[in-house]
Symmetry: C2
Subunit: 125 residues, 2 copies
C-alpha cells in the first residue's frame, strides 16, 4: 500500500468543518482561480471571490450528523492530484444524500490548493 | 488572448463523434487509469476497461442534432489541464439537456489523455 496522498487529509479536514456548518475549510484550501460546479447551479462559478459569495448565505446552515467517504481515489500527476470519491451524508432524515465528487488539487509554494470542485448527485444504488 | 489549449480541440473532436452515436472518440483519448462519473451511475467507474464496457450498449444510441459548449475554461498546471464547461444538447425535443462537465487531461509521451471525467446535470437557468 502506498502512503495516503496529502490531499486526502486536506479534504477530510475541510469536510469535517463543512458538515458542521463551516464552509471556511474549503475556502481556505481553494485557489484564487478555482472553478466550481454543484447541482444547484445553472452555470459554473469562476474564482475564489465568487465561491466565497456563494457560500456566504449557507454559513451555519449545513449540518450532517453522519457522513462517509466511499472509496476515495487519487490520481497524482506532477503538481496536480485528482481526488474522486463517492460521498454519503445524513442529516435529519433517514435517507442518505448520495454524491459524486471530483476535486483537482494543484501544488504551489503554499501547498496543495483546489483548482476545480465538481459536486453532483449520484444515482440511487 | 492566449492561444487555445490543445485539450479543447481534443474535446470538441470527441464530442462531435459522441453526438453522432460514437463513444469511441472519448475512449481513444481516455487514459488506462481514467475515473468517470455521470448521473446514471451510483458509483464511480474506474479504468478504461470499465468505461469501455459501460459505453458498449449505447454505441449508436446517442444523437444530438445540435449542441453547444458554453464558456469552456482550461486551468493548465504542468502536465495537467482541467477543462470545465457547461454543455447544452438538443435531441428530438425542444428542451435542451443542460450539463456541467469537468475533464482532467494529463500529458504523457503519447499526448494528452483524460484521467477524470465528471458529467452532471445543471440546474435550470
Amino acid at each position: 500500500m502506498s502512503e495516503e496522498h496529502p490531499v486526502l487529509g486536506l479534504e477530510r479536514a475541510a469536510m469535517a468543518r463543512w458538515c458542521n456548518g463551516d464552509p471556511g475549510g474549503f475556502l481556505e484550501i481553494s485557489a484564487p482561480d478555482v472553478v466550481y460546479f454543484d447541482p444547484m447551479l445553472a452555470r459554473r462559478l469562476d474564482g475564489h471571490a465568487a465561491l466565497t459569495a456563494y457560500y456566504k448565505p449557507i454559513w451555519g446552515q449545513i449540518y450532517a450528523e453522519r457522513y462517509e467517504f466511499i472509496d476515495p481515489r487519487v490520481i497524482a500527476a506532477g503538481d496536480c492530484a485528482v481526488l474522486a470519491y463517492n460521498f454519503n451524508s445524513w442529516g435529519g432524515s433517514e435517507d442518505a444524500l448520495r454524491w459524486h465528487c471530483t476535486e483537482v488539487y494543484r501544488r504551489d509554494a503554499q501547498g496543495w490548493k483546489i483548482v476545480s470542485t465538481h459536486w453532483s448527485y449520484a444515482a440511487k444504488p
